[in-house]
Protein backbone atom coordinates (compact mmCIF):
# COMPACT_ATOMS: atom_id res chain seq x y z
CA UNK A 1 0.00 0.00 0.00
CA UNK A 2 1.23 3.45 -0.79
CA UNK A 3 2.25 5.59 2.08
CA UNK A 4 -0.47 8.12 2.67
CA UNK A 5 0.56 11.60 3.63
CA UNK A 6 -1.08 13.12 6.68
CA UNK A 7 -3.18 15.98 5.51
CA UNK A 8 -2.60 19.37 7.03
CA UNK A 9 -5.52 20.95 8.86
CA UNK A 10 -6.81 23.94 7.01
CA UNK A 11 -6.20 26.95 9.23
CA UNK A 12 -7.57 29.48 6.83
CA UNK A 13 -10.66 30.27 8.88
CA UNK A 14 -8.75 30.66 12.11
CA UNK A 15 -8.38 34.36 11.44
CA UNK A 16 -12.12 34.69 10.98
CA UNK A 17 -12.82 33.01 14.28
CA UNK A 18 -10.32 35.22 16.06
CA UNK A 19 -11.83 38.31 14.46
CA UNK A 20 -15.24 37.25 15.65
CA UNK A 21 -14.01 36.91 19.21
CA UNK A 22 -12.19 40.22 18.98
CA UNK A 23 -15.28 42.04 17.83
CA UNK A 24 -17.34 40.43 20.56
CA UNK A 25 -14.96 41.73 23.22
CA UNK A 26 -14.76 45.16 21.64
CA UNK A 27 -18.51 45.49 21.86
CA UNK A 28 -19.17 44.07 25.31
CA UNK A 29 -16.39 45.70 27.28
CA UNK A 30 -15.48 49.23 28.28
CA UNK A 31 -12.09 50.71 28.73
CA UNK A 32 -12.72 53.98 30.51
CA UNK A 33 -11.65 54.17 34.11
CA UNK A 34 -13.81 56.34 36.24
CA UNK A 35 -12.43 59.70 37.28
CA UNK A 36 -13.94 62.34 39.48
CA UNK A 37 -13.90 64.43 42.61
CA UNK A 38 -13.63 62.17 45.62
CA UNK A 39 -15.33 63.50 48.73
CA UNK A 40 -16.32 62.20 52.13
CA UNK A 41 -19.79 62.75 53.45
CA UNK A 42 -20.20 63.56 57.13
CA UNK A 43 -21.46 60.62 59.22
CA UNK A 44 -25.20 60.45 59.83
CA UNK A 45 -26.35 62.85 62.53
CA UNK A 46 -26.80 61.43 65.99
CA UNK A 47 -30.27 62.39 67.21
CA UNK A 48 -29.27 62.22 70.89
CA UNK A 49 -26.46 64.64 70.59
CA UNK A 50 -26.67 68.19 69.41
CA UNK A 51 -23.35 69.69 68.60
CA UNK A 52 -23.14 73.39 69.03
CA UNK A 53 -20.30 74.76 67.07
CA UNK A 54 -19.31 78.26 67.84
CA UNK A 55 -17.32 79.45 64.91
CA UNK A 56 -16.23 83.02 64.59
CA UNK A 57 -17.47 84.81 61.56
CA UNK A 58 -14.00 85.73 60.39
CA UNK A 59 -13.09 82.04 60.15
CA UNK A 60 -15.92 81.13 57.80
CA UNK A 61 -15.97 81.64 54.08
CA UNK A 62 -19.54 81.38 52.98
CA UNK A 63 -20.35 80.32 49.44
CA UNK A 64 -23.99 80.44 48.39
CA UNK A 65 -25.23 79.22 45.05
CA UNK A 66 -28.80 80.01 44.10
CA UNK A 67 -31.26 78.42 41.68
CA UNK A 68 -30.08 80.69 38.87
CA UNK A 69 -26.53 79.40 39.33
CA UNK A 70 -25.30 82.73 40.70
CA UNK A 71 -22.61 82.68 43.33
CA UNK A 72 -22.40 84.79 46.44
CA UNK A 73 -19.00 84.42 48.05
CA UNK A 74 -18.59 86.14 51.41
CA UNK A 75 -21.18 88.71 50.47
CA UNK A 76 -19.93 89.43 46.97
CA UNK A 77 -21.60 88.38 43.76
CA UNK A 78 -18.82 86.81 41.68
CA UNK A 79 -18.24 84.54 38.72
CA UNK A 80 -17.11 80.96 39.22
CA UNK A 81 -13.74 81.70 37.61
CA UNK A 82 -12.99 84.31 40.27
CA UNK A 83 -13.76 81.96 43.12
CA UNK A 84 -10.46 80.11 43.27
CA UNK A 85 -8.27 83.17 43.87
CA UNK A 86 -10.67 84.47 46.50
CA UNK A 87 -10.75 81.18 48.38
CA UNK A 88 -6.98 80.89 48.19
CA UNK A 89 -6.48 84.29 49.78
CA UNK A 90 -8.89 83.32 52.52
CA UNK A 91 -7.32 79.94 53.29
CA UNK A 92 -3.82 81.34 53.30
CA UNK A 93 -4.92 84.10 55.64
CA UNK A 94 -2.75 86.87 57.01
CA UNK A 95 -1.86 87.40 60.68
CA UNK A 96 -2.09 91.18 60.27
CA UNK A 97 -5.56 91.23 58.78
CA UNK A 98 -8.40 90.97 61.32
CA UNK A 99 -10.98 90.03 58.68
CA UNK A 100 -9.15 86.87 57.61
CA UNK A 101 -9.10 83.65 59.70
CA UNK A 102 -7.22 83.29 62.95
CA UNK A 103 -4.19 81.08 63.38
CA UNK A 104 -3.70 78.29 65.84
CA UNK A 105 -0.33 76.82 66.70
CA UNK A 106 -0.33 73.14 65.98
CA UNK A 107 2.28 70.45 66.42
CA UNK A 108 3.08 69.00 63.02
CA UNK A 109 5.52 66.14 62.58
CA UNK A 110 8.62 67.34 60.77
CA UNK A 111 7.75 71.01 61.09
CA UNK A 112 7.31 71.51 64.81
CA UNK A 113 4.85 74.12 66.05
CA UNK A 114 3.27 75.66 63.01
CA UNK A 115 0.54 78.27 62.74
CA UNK A 116 -2.44 76.73 60.97
CA UNK A 117 -5.30 78.96 59.94
CA UNK A 118 -8.68 78.06 61.39
CA UNK A 119 -10.46 78.42 58.06
CA UNK A 120 -13.72 76.74 57.20
CA UNK A 121 -15.45 76.89 53.85
CA UNK A 122 -19.19 76.68 54.10
CA UNK A 123 -21.02 75.75 50.94
CA UNK A 124 -24.73 76.08 50.56
CA UNK A 125 -26.68 75.44 47.42
CA UNK A 126 -30.29 75.63 46.41
CA UNK A 127 -32.40 72.66 45.34
CA UNK A 128 -32.64 74.25 41.93
CA UNK A 129 -28.90 74.73 41.43
CA UNK A 130 -27.67 72.82 38.41
CA UNK A 131 -25.35 69.92 39.04
CA UNK A 132 -22.94 71.37 36.52
CA UNK A 133 -22.52 74.56 38.55
CA UNK A 134 -22.27 72.62 41.80
CA UNK A 135 -19.38 70.57 40.40
CA UNK A 136 -17.68 73.72 39.14
CA UNK A 137 -17.85 75.29 42.59
CA UNK A 138 -16.65 72.10 44.29
CA UNK A 139 -13.87 71.88 41.74
CA UNK A 140 -12.72 75.44 42.43
CA UNK A 141 -12.73 74.87 46.19
CA UNK A 142 -10.68 71.69 45.89
CA UNK A 143 -8.47 73.44 43.34
CA UNK A 144 -7.73 76.27 45.76
CA UNK A 145 -6.61 73.78 48.42
CA UNK A 146 -4.55 71.83 45.92
CA UNK A 147 -2.77 74.93 44.66
CA UNK A 148 -1.90 76.07 48.17
CA UNK A 149 -0.69 72.61 49.13
CA UNK A 150 1.34 72.53 45.96
CA UNK A 151 2.98 75.87 46.69
CA UNK A 152 3.76 74.83 50.23
CA UNK A 153 5.16 71.44 49.23
CA UNK A 154 7.42 73.03 46.67
CA UNK A 155 8.68 75.64 49.04
CA UNK A 156 9.29 73.26 51.96
CA UNK A 157 10.20 69.95 50.35
CA UNK A 158 11.04 70.90 46.77
CA UNK A 159 8.40 68.61 45.34
CA UNK A 160 4.95 69.25 43.96
CA UNK A 161 1.91 67.99 45.81
CA UNK A 162 1.19 65.54 43.01
CA UNK A 163 4.71 64.13 43.23
CA UNK A 164 4.28 63.61 46.96
CA UNK A 165 0.98 61.85 46.36
CA UNK A 166 2.52 59.55 43.81
CA UNK A 167 5.53 58.73 45.95
CA UNK A 168 3.58 58.31 49.17
CA UNK A 169 2.86 54.65 48.52
CA UNK A 170 6.50 53.76 47.97
CA UNK A 171 8.45 55.99 50.34
CA UNK A 172 7.80 56.64 53.98
CA UNK A 173 9.44 60.04 53.84
CA UNK A 174 7.11 61.23 51.12
CA UNK A 175 4.18 59.95 53.13
CA UNK A 176 5.24 61.94 56.18
CA UNK A 177 5.74 65.05 54.05
CA UNK A 178 2.33 64.55 52.47
CA UNK A 179 0.72 64.29 55.89
CA UNK A 180 2.46 67.48 57.00
CA UNK A 181 1.27 69.37 53.92
CA UNK A 182 -2.26 68.15 54.50
CA UNK A 183 -2.13 69.28 58.12
CA UNK A 184 -0.88 72.74 57.22
CA UNK A 185 -3.78 73.23 54.82
CA UNK A 186 -6.53 70.91 56.05
CA UNK A 187 -9.49 70.64 53.71
CA UNK A 188 -12.47 71.90 55.62
CA UNK A 189 -15.46 72.16 53.36
CA UNK A 190 -18.75 72.03 55.17
CA UNK A 191 -21.95 71.61 53.25
CA UNK A 192 -25.07 73.05 54.77
CA UNK A 193 -28.42 71.44 54.12
CA UNK A 194 -29.84 72.97 50.97
CA UNK A 195 -32.64 75.46 51.21
CA UNK A 196 -35.36 76.29 48.83
CA UNK A 197 -34.41 79.85 48.41
CA UNK A 198 -35.00 82.15 45.52
CA UNK A 199 -35.47 81.44 41.89
CA UNK A 200 -37.23 78.68 40.06
CA UNK A 201 -39.52 76.37 41.93
Amino acid sequence: MAKREIQEINAGSMADIAFLLLIFFLVTTTMDTDTGLIRRLPPPPDPDRIDEFDVKKRNVFEVLVNANNQILAKGDYIQVTELRAKVKDFIKSDPNNPTLPEFKEEEIEGLGLFPVSKQIISLQNDNGTSYDMYIKVQNELVGAYNELRNEFAQQKFGKTYQELQQQAGASEKAERQLDAVKKVYPQRISEAEPKKIGGAE
Binding site: G12, F25, T33, G128, D132, Q138, N139
Partner: protein, 158 residues
Protein backbone atom coordinates in the same frame (compact mmCIF):
# COMPACT_ATOMS: atom_id res chain seq x y z
CA UNK B 1 19.06 39.93 -18.96
CA UNK B 2 17.50 36.54 -19.21
CA UNK B 3 18.39 36.00 -15.57
CA UNK B 4 15.46 38.08 -14.43
CA UNK B 5 12.93 36.76 -16.87
CA UNK B 6 13.32 33.15 -16.07
CA UNK B 7 9.72 32.47 -15.01
CA UNK B 8 7.99 35.16 -16.93
CA UNK B 9 4.76 33.26 -17.24
CA UNK B 10 4.27 32.35 -13.60
CA UNK B 11 1.61 34.40 -11.78
CA UNK B 12 2.42 36.27 -8.58
CA UNK B 13 2.36 34.13 -5.42
CA UNK B 14 -0.42 34.83 -2.90
CA UNK B 15 0.45 36.83 0.19
CA UNK B 16 1.16 34.54 3.06
CA UNK B 17 -1.61 34.99 5.64
CA UNK B 18 -0.49 32.32 8.04
CA UNK B 19 0.45 34.92 10.67
CA UNK B 20 -2.87 36.73 10.49
CA UNK B 21 -4.57 34.66 13.20
CA UNK B 22 -1.63 35.32 15.49
CA UNK B 23 -1.94 39.04 15.00
CA UNK B 24 -5.67 38.99 15.62
CA UNK B 25 -5.25 36.83 18.71
CA UNK B 26 -2.72 39.28 20.04
CA UNK B 27 -5.22 42.11 19.63
CA UNK B 28 -7.90 39.97 21.23
CA UNK B 29 -5.79 39.26 24.30
CA UNK B 30 -4.85 42.91 24.57
CA UNK B 31 -8.52 43.92 24.71
CA UNK B 32 -9.43 41.11 27.05
CA UNK B 33 -6.81 42.22 29.54
CA UNK B 34 -7.26 45.99 29.39
CA UNK B 35 -11.03 46.25 29.41
CA UNK B 36 -13.80 45.29 31.75
CA UNK B 37 -17.25 43.98 31.03
CA UNK B 38 -20.03 46.47 30.59
CA UNK B 39 -22.37 45.84 33.45
CA UNK B 40 -25.31 48.12 33.04
CA UNK B 41 -27.24 49.51 30.17
CA UNK B 42 -27.88 53.18 30.67
CA UNK B 43 -31.50 54.10 30.87
CA UNK B 44 -30.92 57.73 31.77
CA UNK B 45 -29.20 60.50 29.89
CA UNK B 46 -25.74 60.75 31.29
CA UNK B 47 -23.53 63.56 30.18
CA UNK B 48 -21.23 64.04 33.13
CA UNK B 49 -19.70 67.45 33.83
CA UNK B 50 -16.09 68.53 33.47
CA UNK B 51 -13.62 69.41 36.19
CA UNK B 52 -9.91 70.07 36.54
CA UNK B 53 -9.01 68.65 39.94
CA UNK B 54 -9.95 65.06 39.28
CA UNK B 55 -8.58 61.87 40.74
CA UNK B 56 -8.61 58.38 39.31
CA UNK B 57 -10.60 55.67 41.01
CA UNK B 58 -8.10 52.93 41.58
CA UNK B 59 -9.91 49.66 42.04
CA UNK B 60 -12.83 49.14 39.79
CA UNK B 61 -14.15 46.20 41.77
CA UNK B 62 -14.64 48.51 44.73
CA UNK B 63 -16.74 51.07 42.92
CA UNK B 64 -20.53 51.04 42.81
CA UNK B 65 -22.38 53.34 40.50
CA UNK B 66 -25.49 55.41 40.97
CA UNK B 67 -26.82 57.03 37.83
CA UNK B 68 -29.06 60.08 37.91
CA UNK B 69 -30.56 61.86 34.94
CA UNK B 70 -33.49 62.29 32.63
CA UNK B 71 -34.81 58.98 31.25
CA UNK B 72 -33.71 58.38 27.67
CA UNK B 73 -36.15 58.89 24.80
CA UNK B 74 -37.49 55.34 24.73
CA UNK B 75 -38.42 55.44 28.41
CA UNK B 76 -39.84 58.95 28.45
CA UNK B 77 -43.35 57.85 27.56
CA UNK B 78 -43.50 55.66 30.65
CA UNK B 79 -41.31 57.48 33.13
CA UNK B 80 -41.61 61.09 32.06
CA UNK B 81 -38.81 63.60 31.77
CA UNK B 82 -38.11 64.34 35.42
CA UNK B 83 -34.66 63.16 36.59
CA UNK B 84 -34.62 59.58 37.84
CA UNK B 85 -32.26 57.37 39.79
CA UNK B 86 -30.94 54.25 38.11
CA UNK B 87 -29.43 51.49 40.22
CA UNK B 88 -27.98 48.54 38.34
CA UNK B 89 -30.42 48.03 35.49
CA UNK B 90 -33.62 49.53 36.79
CA UNK B 91 -35.19 52.84 37.70
CA UNK B 92 -35.43 53.18 41.44
CA UNK B 93 -36.55 55.72 43.98
CA UNK B 94 -34.46 57.19 46.73
CA UNK B 95 -36.03 54.83 49.27
CA UNK B 96 -34.34 51.91 47.48
CA UNK B 97 -30.85 53.28 48.01
CA UNK B 98 -30.48 51.93 51.51
CA UNK B 99 -31.23 48.41 50.29
CA UNK B 100 -28.96 48.88 47.28
CA UNK B 101 -26.09 49.83 49.58
CA UNK B 102 -26.66 46.72 51.69
CA UNK B 103 -26.76 44.50 48.63
CA UNK B 104 -23.60 45.95 47.16
CA UNK B 105 -21.86 45.44 50.48
CA UNK B 106 -22.96 41.82 50.66
CA UNK B 107 -21.37 41.13 47.31
CA UNK B 108 -17.94 42.17 48.53
CA UNK B 109 -15.50 40.58 50.90
CA UNK B 110 -16.05 41.44 54.50
CA UNK B 111 -12.74 43.24 54.73
CA UNK B 112 -13.47 45.42 51.74
CA UNK B 113 -16.97 46.51 52.64
CA UNK B 114 -15.90 49.82 54.08
CA UNK B 115 -13.68 50.62 51.15
CA UNK B 116 -16.42 50.86 48.57
CA UNK B 117 -16.55 54.14 46.69
CA UNK B 118 -20.01 55.24 45.61
CA UNK B 119 -19.65 56.92 42.29
CA UNK B 120 -22.41 59.36 41.42
CA UNK B 121 -22.81 59.64 37.70
CA UNK B 122 -25.10 62.59 37.40
CA UNK B 123 -26.18 64.35 34.26
CA UNK B 124 -25.00 67.97 33.97
CA UNK B 125 -28.46 69.39 33.66
CA UNK B 126 -29.88 67.72 36.75
CA UNK B 127 -30.93 70.01 39.56
CA UNK B 128 -29.31 69.57 42.95
CA UNK B 129 -32.52 68.60 44.76
CA UNK B 130 -32.42 64.94 43.78
CA UNK B 131 -28.66 64.73 44.21
CA UNK B 132 -28.93 66.04 47.74
CA UNK B 133 -31.66 63.52 48.53
CA UNK B 134 -29.44 60.71 47.29
CA UNK B 135 -26.54 62.02 49.36
CA UNK B 136 -28.72 62.10 52.47
CA UNK B 137 -29.80 58.50 51.83
CA UNK B 138 -26.17 57.44 51.43
CA UNK B 139 -25.36 59.14 54.69
CA UNK B 140 -28.14 57.24 56.42
CA UNK B 141 -26.75 53.99 55.04
CA UNK B 142 -23.29 54.98 56.25
CA UNK B 143 -21.93 54.97 52.71
CA UNK B 144 -19.71 57.98 53.08
CA UNK B 145 -16.97 57.69 50.50
CA UNK B 146 -18.45 59.20 47.38
CA UNK B 147 -17.15 60.31 44.05
CA UNK B 148 -18.69 62.89 41.78
CA UNK B 149 -17.90 61.38 38.43
CA UNK B 150 -16.41 64.03 36.14
CA UNK B 151 -14.30 64.19 33.06
CA UNK B 152 -10.96 65.90 32.77
CA UNK B 153 -10.70 69.35 31.27
CA UNK B 154 -7.95 71.92 31.36
CA UNK B 155 -9.96 74.97 32.22
CA UNK B 156 -13.48 75.50 33.39
CA UNK B 157 -15.65 78.17 31.86
CA UNK B 158 -18.23 80.44 33.37
Amino acid sequence: MSKFRKNGKKSQPAVNTAALPDIVFMLLFFFMVTTTMRETTLKVENKIPFATEIEKLERKSLVSYIYIGKPTKEFQTVFGTAPRIQLNDAFKTKEDIFQFVEMERDERDELERNLITWSLKVDQKTEMGIVTEVKQELRKANALKINYSTKKTDKIKN
